[in-house]
Amino acid sequence: MILYLRLFWEFFKTGLFAVGGGMATLPFLYSMSEKTGWFTQSQLADMIAVSESTPGPIGVNMATYVGFETAGIPGSVIATLGLVTPSIVVVLLIARVLAAFRQNRYVDAAFYGLRPCSVGLIAAAGLLVVKIALFDFDLFAVSGQIADLFRWKALALAALLLVLTRWVKPLKKLHPVFFILGSALVGVLFRF
């Protein structure tokens, strides 16, 4: 019971403070992982991949996934309800004064500060994924060899994906799910 309440509260906070869409929940999930130990950072990276490749908004998918890993099926329902409750309350309140809210200069000014904040938090959370996906600090700590620090196959794949998703015109528009599935195949074939 206590676990359910904590789960609801953690996701309530995420829903209340994550501004700017699905990926904005990511830093909150990392901080949750560190604070509660409900799931590991490498599990979180896998959850992002699954959330991007399945129907539904990414933020909701990630909440459901984390909830399930933490407390089973009731957990997935409770985490998702926690995430959406602040949205529903805030929007129901704002809907009455929609025009005034949009044009309020304090709201506009607050968002001028919130947007770079959101990008900064997402970038920092992204680096945590880089740390486990592209580097092997555990092996490096044991062997002391600089060459062991890098996951060379992973670096090669990252470079390839970067080129494909950013500079190859017909592929740029492809849905992320194709890159995720392609990577999975590469991972199995080349024994990552």
Partner: protein, 178 residues
Amino acid sequence: MLWQLFITFARIGVMTFGGGYAMIPILEREIVDRHGWASSEELMDYYAVGQCTPGIIAVNTATFIGRKHGGTLGGIIASLGVVFPSVVIITVIAGILTNFAEIPAVQSAFAAIRVCVCVLIFNAVVKLWKAAVPDKAALILFLLVFLLSLFFKLSPVIFVLFCAAAGIALTQWGVRGK
């Protein structure tokens, strides 16, 4: 009518891959063309405000439309509808994956998928960058948040509250836009 709201938004939830901008054409078709619950202009307004209210944009937009069509209860029902498919689909997938996580091929696949996730997050940051960091003051806020959150285990809530206040202060002092 509430049932129809729920079903319609559940359908929108299933068809939304990834959320965000991917949602707009689907909302247009379902809400404007099919049901006439809102006009295109209203939809864009909801979507714009949905981006600058806390929480998931898809849920915010659903609450706006549901409230307009069916009052407070309508807002709640529409939101529950849009998240319903996620809860079902993800729970099933998570249940399956947990059982297969020990298989070496699955571990290899996810090791490579994590690499892909790095690239996807990088691309998301690049995409957000233009609108989010228009001037030097915003760049300083970005660097401050990025570095502090990297090196100190602070709750993101602290950064969000600080930056909202900083945004107001910088605008008042006339630093914004320089």
